[in-house]
Amino acid sequence: MQATNAGRPGGTPIAIVLTLSLLSILIIFPLLYVVSVSLSYDADISKHGYQLIPERVTLTAYSYLLQNPKLLLQSYFITIVVTALGTALSLLLTSSIAYVMTRKDYRYSQATTFFVFFTLLFNAGLVPSYMIMTNVLHLQDTIGALILPYGVSAWFAMLMKGFMQGLPFEIIESAKIDGATEFGIFVRMILPLSKPALATIGLFYALAFWNDWWLAMLYIQNEKLIPLQFFLNRIMTNIEFLTKNVQAGISVDLSAIPTESSRMAIAILAAGPMLFAFPFFQKYLVKGLTVGAVKG
């Protein structure tokens, strides 16, 4: 199947290679600028502007940021906790409800499906959700506010249901005859058989949690609970936030701070782990997309 189109005889037409190369350059160059600026002296930047190749290479910005990395490490920690807990919880919730939706012999499987599907059609919008979160559930300034709202994505639940429907129903019947409980069937048979779907959807969840700033922007005031992306945004809009990295109490000379390069350095530090995870992510996501697209 893979070999049908890709790798057609006669090699790749030169026009296509050129176009795709051009697109790739357009994508890579802006990113290289970010790296380059993070390695430049602010003095050089103010003289020459942002450059693709720094005049003089320096790690000033990084050493400045890592001098007192308390806030940065804290936001890393929050993001890692949120991503790990969030992905695990969301996968468990999503797969359990998706499984029940596939059980045709369960009287309420259709009702459950509609219950989930309806959330794709209509939602109350931001204001009521915000009021419920803050005034009724009082979840503001908790880790829960960064995790629970993404707990069950209807879209992923439907995708998971599509995958699970492909599993042979007979194994459930035979397990039942052998005396397995419903819970046992789900945990010991369905979940292991659903590994490919769990991996794909888990990666999407992990990506969503890692890159999220939206929930933090809405519900987090406490500086100890600020996740990475939101921390990044505060640095971008307010360079004074950066100076909080330096010990409190000491008055800071703002002009001595490598503001331009530090901003970009912090963007690199925030995107860094993603860079290393990317090849792994990409492989599985493409595989998952392939399964999804071919099925649909």
Binding site: L26, G49, M101, Y108, F115, L126, I132, V152
Partner: protein, 313 residues
Amino acid sequence: MSKGVRYRSALKREYKHLVSGRSLLLISLPAIIVVFIFYYLPLFGVVIAFKDINYADGIWGSAWSGLNNFKFFFNSQDAWRITRNTLLLNGVFIVVGTFCSVIVGLMMAEASRRLVKLFQTILFFPYFLSWVVVGFVTYILLNPTYGVMNKAFELFGGSAVDWYGNPSYWPLILTLTYLWKNVGYTAIIFFTGLIAIDASYYEAASIDGASRFQQIRTISIPLIAPLITMLVMLNIGRIFYSDFGMFYFIPRDAGMLYETTDVMDTYVYRSLRVVGDLGMASAASLYQAVVGLVLVLTTNLLVRKYSKDNALF
């Protein structure tokens, strides 16, 4: 049998079903509770739009205000501006985005496998960056004094442009940013659809003497048409919702640019969190939800009419 008895026996039957299916109910219960709390509970909060909310009296204690919130919202110039921006920009994203992704997908399908891997990796990469990081990238390009674009203009004898001060550039900037981040991802979806096409179609066509272009026009495009329709339809159904991160972080929430960058989502967010005008925010929020629902249902209806298999429900 009297009515009462019939109802009671029906209830009994449901109860029996519940008991026999109780393990499955239990398995799905945590997820049901989460969905209920985060999606269904807020539905009751829709009444906020019809109330004159003050925090002291809470949601239920505040006085009713009828349609006042909506009157204020629709009489302001904001309503027209954000509706126009939302529909136009998202409309452009759908048309241009789909077109470019299909082209890139087709090109990837024509490339050799080693090259595909390489390009796929590069094109897919921006999809993994958060909008905050992409905001940093556009800032590098558009910064008025140090920015790459302005330096390039100066190099060619042009003068610096104040990107963050002139709203007329922004529809184009936003479209390009959207393409930069998303085309790779959507192109891969189309690419996977393309490589799943049975090779014998192409073999037969080339025996009949069809050129590559003819093969693409008569085989590739028609066979991925359902996939294209599905994605476009999903996007049209969500056209009244925007990618908040993009509209917030790329123009850097600059008030000067609201004329062309303010959309429903940023407006509702600002009314709620920055301005604190709950009446306006809730009216706009409900307007968005209702129009969103109508659009989803209409698109689905249209697609069902045109080809039943591709409808969502």
